[in-house]
Symmetry: C2
């Protein structure tokens, strides 16, 4: 059996009509993590533009209990007394698909340690480029300047024992190339440079995508730079040893630097269930070559980035394989009696 | 319905007892493709050391019909009059899992065009390193010398529009590293060099494996060499532009050169069924991101290297996903009536 803790929403879903009156009235401003921290949101809010359902929730850790939202709500949906709920699920099998997280910027002094406004993560760039992005265009966070030069630092916290992430994060090459092409589309005059160790364009059509990016004029430089600080005009200065050509030490400046950070597990089974993890802290697969979905707990399967960094296509293929394993497990074992399942 | 053509074996499986008397008597010697062409086999033979069943078959294209095998056979199992058989399978769904092939060496003049004895394919090296290999040790094919210096040329026919294979073959980096480590184990004094463009060590544990290879002393050189010919002592000479350091043109010599050839489809649906292929000639997946197993024929799914280059782990995950899709397809559609199913 699995116990799920449902957090209180402090808004009655039946009553809320998504009119956003509460959001307009709320006096609190919080950096919006859904926008990479670039825009602000209220303490009562509809979480993001295409959230389903389009209904409000209260972020209790930021709410100041001023009561304005409750007063303005036309359907009296706000309920500060809402309590967490424990739901017990009885299941004969389970699939762990807990996704990934990126390494926090503050751990990496060689990449600015999160202290330089114009050194952002690729997830933040994803927001800057998104149709519902914070600025509706690509602007540099520190001063709203349209960047003339954008650089990507690949393996910013991957393939690097010094930061505790010796493995390849598998998806960074391709998302950096995708974003670089979107940037070139949005700002045709901007220079885009990708600093890389190896371009891992391994999937179907990936190599061609990489070649298209080169043909579009995106620069690829084999080197792993360190960030040395801000320039006078708010740009970012880098230093690296060139791995191509004459191998000299180069200093470069860019208006905006994007870090392709490593992928780390989104969840740990510690204290929740006795699932084993590998040295890399991802869920351990006990027969990784023959049964990539098998964990060390019978009946518990794993799929996607819970078992290691993985792109969308591979995650979907693995989800299908995990569903098949779970289905096989259910049909192979004796059905639980009504009492045992009770 | 699918029509399967079963080739004649010319040996009665019921009668054959696997005694190999026929094989010993047969006067024909044919290069054994199961041994990378390095050893010879007979025209009647048990296909390979761990074939199941351990029963003989006749290779009709090389048999000279001398009759010796039929005369020696203690159970009278040889039957030269055996005929091909057509078997009709009725199936409601099918999974295409037709694997891959490697590009033929003769197409690549820049890699010796298959004319240099000591330029071999990685599949041939796999045989040289195998427990049931042709020499039981690692020897150079031309003269049986124990090689002191072995080189791998990565992307020998991949990532290269000039040879018609623009895509990455996905598995070559890791098999080359695996083989290089086995070579270092078998011949501790030999130098092993891997010429590469990018090391694509993208899977779980792959980066660590790559680092172990570097720690073992395997040399990695970023360059794509061309083979210029044989040296006086039977070695192979290469020429390449160094992509690291000072970018100069380098000439090198190795006792044995292994080509990491590109992966191409193992089968074409042309003339068999109307399945669509992509530009790369692999089976086309119509919704590659969301349903990696879907082809353009309803009820026909694809898995593994039939849809593009893929390693063992990813092929197995895809096989599971394809099985699930096929099972969903079977349960979602109305069951065929007894009459329709014929």
């Amino acid at each position: 059996a699995a116990v799920v803790r449902k957090k209180p929403r402090y808004v009655d879903l039946e009553k809320c009509i998504g009119c956003r009156q509460c959001e307009y009235q709320c006096p609190v401003l919080v950096p919006d993590e859904e926008q990479g921290g670039f825009a602000a949101r209220k303490a009562i809010y509809i979480p993001f533009a295409n959230a389903i359902p389009q209904k409000a929730l209260v972020d209790a850790s930021n709410c100041i209990l001023c009561g304005r939202c409750a007063r303005i709500c036309p359907t009296k949906a706000v309920n500060y007394a809402d309590q967490p709920e424990e739901i017990t699920l009885r299941a004969a099998t389970a699939i762990v698909a807990t996704g990934y997280d990126v390494t926090p910027l503050r751990d990496k002094p060689q990449f600015g340690g999160g202290q330089l406004a114009n050194v952002i993560t690729a997830m933040q760039m994803e927001r800057l480029l998104a149709p519902h992005g914070p600025y509706n265009r690509l602007l540099r966070p520190s001063d709203g300047k349209q960047p003339e030069s954008v650089a990507y630092v690949q393996c910013a916290a991957s393939r690097d024992r010094t930061v505790g992430i010796p493995y390849c994060s598998r998806v960074c090459c391709m998302y950096a190339i995708k974003q670089a092409m979107l940037i070139s589309g949005a700002l045709p005059l901007a220079d885009v440079t990708i600093y890389y160790i190896d371009i891992r364009a391994f999937g179907k059509g990936y190599e061609q995508f990489f070649q298209n990016a080169q043909a579009m004029g995106i620069q690829f430089v084999k080197a792993k730079p360190a960030i040395t600080g801000n320039t006078a005009d708010g740009g970012v200065s880098l230093r690296y040893e060139l791995q191509e050509g004459d191998g000299r030490i180069v200093t470069a400046e860019h208006d905006l630097v994007v870090l392709s950070l490593g992928l780390v597990p989104g969840w740990s089974p510690e204290g929740v269930c006795p699932l084993a993890c590998g040295e890399d802290r991802f869920i351990k697969t006990v027969k990784p070559k023959l049964f990539p979905n098998l964990t060390d707990m019978p009946g518990v399967f794993v799929a996607g980035a819970a078992a290691g960094p993985k792109d969308i296509v591979d995650s979907i293929a693995e989800a299908g394989a995990a569903a098949m394993e779970a289905s096989n497990y259910l049909t192979a074992r004796p059905r639980p009696t009504a009492k045992a399942a009770g």
